[in-house]
Assembly symmetry: D2
Homo-oligomer: 154 residues x 4
């Protein structure tokens, strides 16, 4: 039961900017779609992580990304690994690694990243506690801290 989920990343020609590499902004879109795919998968016990319902939804509270190597457009899929690094009362942290290909062996990690998601009430806009079942699904995906090398900007 691996804590890390890997999804194919289907690049688009337009992901590259005029420097001839995938633009730094697009990497956050890759994280977003990995989250969406993670939420659309059944968790190991067979149910889904339901964060969006008539009463609640999950907002992005914070993101951090470290770029390690340029990524270039290819019709061959790149890959995004996604896992949970921490679960709090009403928020949780996700870790990511963007690789240049699906096969881990021989691949290059082009970026690593972290996102803090916050569960919010639609009516009040304020954080609400994660339920026990939401926590259980999130904990089933738990993995290591994101190995950022760079210190936080001063």
């Amino acid at each position: 039961m691996p804590p890390v989920n890997t999804f194919p990343l289907h690049l688009r020609f337009g992901d590259e900017d005029s420097y001839g590499h995938v633009n730094n902004v697009r990497f956050l879109q890759f994280l977003e779609d990995a989250r969406v795919q993670l939420m659309s998968e059944a968790h190991p016990g067979g149910s889904f992580l339901e964060l969006v319902d008539p009463d609640h939804y999950a907002l992005v509270g914070r993101q951090e990304i470290e770029y390690r190597a340029p990524l270039n457009f290819s019709t061959r899929p790149a890959a995004v690994e996604i896992w949970v690094t921490a679960v709090g009362a009403s928020s949780f942290d996700l870790g990511y690694a963007v690789r240049d290909r699906m096969e881990a062996e021989g691949s290059t990690t082009t970026a690593i990243a972290a996102t803090t998601m916050v569960l919010v009430s639609r009516s009040t806009g304020r954080p609400v506690r994660l339920s026990d079942s939401q926590r259980a699904v999130l904990l089933s995906w738990q993995g290591p801290a994101v190995p950022f090398r760079r210190s936080r900007a001063r």
Copy 2:
């Protein structure tokens, strides 16, 4: 001689996603265009910050963003404040605040962010030292640390 530069942010209808707010990814594009505008402005002494030339260019090494409030599309410009938070040997850090309108008074800060830029040699791909004149321009834009509230994801 204010250390903070403020540029208008012309939103596009397509910046909003299906949640009806400006998408979290787009904020990094707003930072990118604020950088581009900062580099196209004459610095206080009258010359420009030249980071891109036949020998060198500047890469994004790291970004961090904290979302404070939703931003909605409007034909009235939002605003990005940008300033320098630190200058190193071959890299420098930028701070940003994205506001919902140009006028600071009565505006809402929707996100704060930081970017580490690295000056790189085109031939070797390795970091190179900032020149004295580049440092002087960067230091003329120096301002306070970005007041992040959230701790770094664990």
Copy 3:
């Protein structure tokens, strides 16, 4: 009372693709934002064109664009001219010209385009007739046919 409205087009660095020109896809976004700006302007009589309300909204039914010259990123605004070319029972056609700068004199037209918009009922999803006041506003913006040079693809 000019039939053609011209709006500034604030380019973004990311509008260029790896060929070093503004990507062909982005031009349709420029048309979209010109439409949005046109709808946010008071028409000559002082009222607004209200196409979006609790009962109705306007859909894009068809678009056609002819690219005339490359457009490059600049911090100086480009421009989009927009006008009405035809008004039907439940639809209307818009014409556009994308120029490389706001000042018409000395500018280059980089693309011309046309869009058919259809007014649709939210409840049935079917076209509904434009009201007399909607028609009046649209007719106040009427201009010439779009001077496409290329024949329709076979």
Copy 4:
């Protein structure tokens, strides 16, 4: 040997706009990536269509798209059919259909489109003649005219 090639279209969450459907602009990006995938495929005789080389590249001269039905984000791939509708001296026309799923049976066609591509010399920027081998590959993909329903905007 079917004249129509069908490629999976991997939607992204951010393809939807605030109306809750895939944005009209994005459809042109789907066409672009279908072109790129078509060019990366071996043609029936085993070689590739090489339009981009040190001397030449292909530009988009014209596009036309008719929207038939809304398309919604899904983690299940949509599909783009692409084929050649005409081959001229220095240009060729492509036809497209965007479906809401890979399986043709039971799918909905959400848009049909056409693009005119022009082969251009890098040094002069002027059209150059397609070679016999380029023509042979293009003709191997030839299919029917795009069945546009709407008349050209007036």
